[in-house]
Amino acid sequence: MFKRIYINNYKCLVNFDCELDNINLFLGKNGSGKSTVFEILTAIQQFVCLGGKVENVFKTESKTRWQKLNCQDFELEIENEEGFLYKYQLSIEHHEDGQKSRVKHERLFFEDKPLLRLEDEGQVYLYRDNFSEGPEYQVDWSLSAVGAIPPRNDNTRLTWFKNRLTNFIIVQLIPPMMFRESPDETPYPSEYLENFTSWYRYVSQDQGMAFQLMSELKEVLPGFDHFKFEAVGEKHRLLKVYFKNEQDRILIAYKFYELSDGQRMLIALYTLLYAVCADQNRKYTLCLDEPENFLALPEIQPWLTELYDRCNDGEMQALLISHHPEFINYLLASPIGHWFERQINRPTRIKKMKDRLRDVIGKENRGISVSEIITRGWLNE
């Protein structure tokens, strides 16, 4: 499980420290820094797992405007299934004089023992699984040293960390942006899930998962019957969705892009849930920015209870950003809310939602829901 994130000198996040649970709800006004946390997770994933160059992934303009510090610092803590803790530290140095940004240091620890250290001057110290010292070498300062290490028998811990970081799905679903056709199969959903059909082409190779997903969609999407890919040219595929009216039992096929935004949103949300839980040997962290968009009100809670149960059972982890009363009122029966607040040109401050509520309204129940308390602005400073 992803346990903690620390961020310093990135946009509005200064000395920002947040501990995480199996399911987390980020709340707060627009501009308070909620989505910035997701932005950093995406950046670290691109840097470590996808070979992104530091100057492309961590832009100099992303430094906190009112600070003079040139370094940005990030830390992630991830616990494996046996309860052992990985700690990843990354420090980026920017230059105002037009010089390229570089990695100041990059370190990976397992239970506080080093697996890799990239220190000043680009010197890498690599350690084996048994923590004995491995090779030392120089690297390109603009790339991740952790990301560059190929899997070997004596670095299974480092490889585990990289794979776990790959299993962060960070998306803001926007159905109107979804592509009409799939040019190929792709294992990773894109930022706005534009590549839904290509990603579904990949994940639906697990036929057990695809069957379970379609059974669930029959329950939640009125008339839904099944999916089918149709060839368009040699490689391209079109996703077709079949609907059946209960009265005449006639099947009618629609192209996926012909469905409404809400229908596509619902399909995408359930697909995410089923796909990330399909392989119990791979744990995923699902980060969703405003997943309630486009959904009809009665569609929200059934998806949310499904997500809650899966997170509670340890099948997956979720980080959610939402302003929606259904999300707030349902999820805040558990102590999983994080309240973000920020004054103009000042850093984000984060508090546990239960503490913030207690600060503001005391122990007395005022007979109104938490979403109403937020709507009325009572939690804002």
Partner: protein, 139 residues
């Protein structure tokens, strides 16, 4: 079940919510037909929340029960009180809101775990145990 079947669960906390929801699903209720109204954490006592919301939920039920197949499930821990006292307190809330007391032909089920829902869960996990309804159980 018809398209309009719906069950509202009104309860004190997450433990009760998960228990009631899975109980209903195991009884054959489609999960899409369950709506949960659960007390938020950190905003007063859950028991007070249920008592305050109970008249609203009963009122909503009575406005729609003639043309929709709906029902209300309420969970409230007895704690150290008698079950009959808990039921009476809920009736009193209806009277205070100028509503009739719960009638036997209404689809309103009230579950009063004694001492609390954890006692029930603890019993279900090991039915050979003697149930202690006076001491708080922890899961």
């Amino acid at each position: 079940m018809s398209e309009y079947t719906g069950i509202v669960i009104l309860c004190e906390d997450r433990q009760q919510e998960v228990f009631a929801r899975h109980f209903l699903i195991n009884c054959g209720v489609r999960k899409q037909r369950i709506y949960v109204n659960v007390a938020p954490q950190g905003v007063g006592a859950g028991e007070q929340y249920v008592r305050e919301k109970y008249p609203d939920e009963v009122g909503s039920y009575r406005r729609s029960c003639n043309h929709k197949n709906i029902s209300l499930v309420v969970l409230i821990d007895a704690d150290m009180n008698k079950v009959t006292d808990c039921l009476k307190k809920l009736d009193d809330e209806l009277v205070k809101a100028s509503l009739a007391k719960r009638q036997s032909d209404e689809k309103i089920a009230i579950f009063v775990p004694k001492r609390n829902i954890e006692t029930w869960i603890s019993y279900l996990q090991d039915q050979t145990q003697t149930v202690d309804e006076e001491t708080a159980s922890e899961i």
